[in-house]
């Protein structure tokens, strides 16, 4: 709290002046022959009656204090504009598909990010970094909320692994010239090292409710080979790919995504029977096909998991992303301080309050509560 007119505090001298006047008035002296009778009569006064002069004095002093406060024009907030820069780092990696947090980790993280965004001050700047595969800046630092809201709304969880720590470092770099900048990380897991940050403050909200590791598995078979012998009479070089999976846990849902040349070609849910499931996909020769899975419980590949191209089996050369997301516990985003606009002097409130107190004192005087 600061004061617009602190010199008005001299008005507080009115209180001792009033006290002196009160004492002077008190000194009106009269010769009494029956002081002993007065003492007896006054000794029968109630406690409230004895306190009443002090209550009156306190009441009137309160009016003076409030008037002085009103003249001093207190400012109950910052006197100057204070802005902060925020970088939202949204984890949209493979592991965020897990559904141990309803509806999914990613959806929960996105909602939290939207909520945090709504709390920012009107002059605060914000940026959005989405971590899906390589971290990328979706929205640079801006005061405009709309692109941030649109970006948050349109971003979906990726099927790639990513590096949140690298994203945090990138955010720290963005905030290099923004003292007091804040990095808000929405992820399934807090980054291991925070000491690398230069000046920015890192606040992490985690979204995971699994006591054990959550299996989110990505299988990929690179470059479907061309078989001249079998493809010679075949006008359509399409090949049916078969992926077989074995689960060891009890996943509620396992999602599977087929990517052809890094583009999502199809999505389907795996139906496990006796712990096994099979997924089919038609791909062309020469395509770069990837299969990605997300489950919310222990999940392991069958030793013989493979992509089958017709009769030819192609062993997975790359098995990405097993155990990319570990167990964890959800933690909400800690409270953070946003930028503030300058507060207006609250002198009107104090004037109003002084008027009310004065009216109250006057009414109390009329009904005989004070004197």
């Amino acid at each position: 709290m600061s004061w617009l007119n602190p010199e008005s505090a001299i008005g507080l001298l009115a209180i001792p002046i009033l006290c002196v006047l009160y004492l002077i008035r008190e000194r009106a002296k009269r010769q009494e022959t029956t002081v002993f009778l007065w003492r007896r009569a006054l000794s029968e006064r109630s406690a409230w009656s004895r306190m009443r002069p002090w209550v009156s004095a306190a009441w009137r002093s309160a009016v003076v204090v409030l008037l002085v406060l009103a003249m001093a024009a207190p400012i109950l907030g910052p006197r100057e504009t204070r802005t902060r820069d925020f970088v939202f780092v949204l984890d949209a990696t493979l592991g965020m598909h897990a559904t141990d947090v309803q509806p999914s980790r990613f959806e929960a993280a996105r909602s939290a990010a939207q909520e945090a965004l709504s709390k920012l001050g009107p002059l605060d700047r914000a940026a959005l970094i989405v971590v899906g595969g390589e971290p990328h800046v979706d929205v640079p630092l801006t005061i405009d909320r709309q692109p941030l809201e649109v970006a948050l709304h349109s971003t979906a969880a990726d099927w790639l692994e990513g590096d949140c720590e690298a994203a945090v470092q990138a955010a720290d770099l963005m905030l290099r010239d923004s003292p007091g900048g804040v990095i808000l990380l929405f992820s399934a897991q807090a980054p291991n090292e925070k000491s690398r940050l230069s000046d920015a403050q890192l606040l992490v909200a985690t979204f995971a409710d699994s006591p054990t590791n959550t299996g989110v598995v990505s299988l990929s078979a690179r470059r479907i080979a061309h078989n001249p012998a079998s493809d010679a009479n075949d006008a359509s070089p399409a090949r049916q790919l078969v992926a077989r999976f074995t689960q060891t846990g009890s996943p509620r849902t396992v999602k599977l995504q087929w990517l052809v040349n890094r583009e999502v070609a199809a999505e389907q849910e795996l139906q496990f029977e006796e712990g096994r499931a099979t997924a089919l996909f038609n791909a062309n020769v020469g395509d770069d096909v990837e299969v990605r899975l997300a489950a919310d419980d222990d999940f392991a590949l069958d030793d013989s998991a493979s992509l089958t191209l017709s009769s030819e089996s192609i062993q997975f050369a790359d098995v990405d992303g097993t155990d990319v997301v570990v167990s964890g516990q959800s933690n909400p985003l800690p409270e953070f301080e946003t930028g503030q606009q300058p507060a207006r002097p609250a002198h009107r409130w104090f004037f109003g309050l002084a008027l009310l107190v004065w009216l109250g004192e006057w009414l109390a005087f009329l009904v005989g509560v004070t004197e």
């Binding site: 009160y22 008035r25 008190e26 000194r27 009106a28 002296k29 009269r30 010769q31 009494e32 022959t33 029956t34 002081v35 002993f36 009778l37 007065w38 003492r39 007896r40 009569a41 006054l42 029968e44 006064r45 009656s49 009443r52 002069p53 004197e371």
Partner: protein, 296 residues
């Protein structure tokens, strides 16, 4: 003649005209005597008053002049009227209204008593009892006594009736009539109780006229005050409100009732006189007190 004496004579004339009959009997002349009353020498005669003994009526004169008068005799016992005037500081408030009233009233009674052939002594009372002048008998001595009375001033010491009574009883020969003119504002009620007990034991025929101002009985000023005790010293700062005034009035009334009870137990007359009330009202009060013969 002093101003006090002039006023006294005026009052005396007025008193005779308005309430003279009621004033006789109790405090002057026919009061009970503790000594031998064997007077046979006619001294004077006066108009008959209600209650006079019919045996003393001068029937010859009545038959001759058609006047109903009673004869008065010189007795062997010297009849004396002693008057105490409280000279404590509390009597000097409000420009000495109470003290002035007491002096005027004492002078009036002294004049009446002298006219009745009695001797008069006036005492100045505070924490002691000192005679003002000597024994007055006859008007010339009375005038001198009144001059001395007028010159007397208040004492700086508070009232102590018990001490005064002890000192008084040391010099009193026989049971006189004692009239006490005082406000009796003593903090310790036990002292004036003791004073009246001593007077009663010495068979002093006492009467107390308790003086006060109307402001003392019914104060009306509220607000912040520093009350300075003129008797005991000391000050008390108070904020007086209407309910405090009411409580004080009740306390004052209780105090007066207490004084009345004390006098009643001691067989003394008690009357309460607001000195700043009209004199006729005062006389009416005192006349009523006299007729009843006891405090009310």
């Amino acid at each position: 003649m002093s101003r006090l004496a002039e006023q006294t004579l005026d009052l005396s004339r007025w008193l005779r005209q308005t309430a003279g009959l009621n004033w006789r009997g109790r405090w002057f002349g026919e009061r009970p005597s503790h000594g031998v009353q064997a007077g046979i020498e006619a001294a004077d005669s006066r108009d008959y008053a209600t209650g006079d003994d019919l045996a003393r009526v001068d029937w010859n004169r009545c038959a001759r002049l058609d006047e109903l008068v009673v004869r008065q005799y010189f007795g062997s016992e010297l009849r004396a009227l002693d008057i105490w005037i409280d000279h404590s500081p509390s009597m000097n408030v409000d420009d000495g209204a109470k003290l002035q009233w007491a002096k005027r009233f004492a002078a009036l009674l002294a004049l009446q008593a002298i006219d009745q052939g009695e001797t008069v002594r006036i005492f100045q009372v505070a924490d002691d009892c000192r005679a003002i002048g000597g024994v007055a008998r006859g008007r010339p001595r009375l005038c001198r006594l009144l001059n001395q009375l007028e010159a007397s001033s208040t004492s700086a010491r508070p009232l102590q009736l018990a001490a005064a009574a002890r000192q008084y009883l040391n010099v009193v020969q026989s049971g006189p009539t004692l009239l006490i003119l005082s406000d009796v504002f003593e903090i310790e009620s036990a002292r004036f109780v003791e004073a009246f007990r001593l007077l009663s034991a010495a068979k002093v025929n006492a009467a107390l006229i308790q003086l006060h101002t109307q402001a003392e009985a019914n104060p009306i000023e509220t607000g912040r005050w520093k009350l300075a005790d003129v008797e005991g010293g000391g000050e008390q700062t108070v904020t007086l409100r209407d309910e405090d005034l009411a409580a004080y009035q009740a306390e004052f009334a209780r105090y007066m009732q207490g004084m009345r009870r004390v006098c009643h137990r001691a067989g003394a007359i008690w009357a309460r006189v607001p000195v700043d009330a009209g004199f006729d009202q005062v006389v009416r009060v005192l006349a009523g007190t006299s007729r009843l013969g006891r405090a009310r």
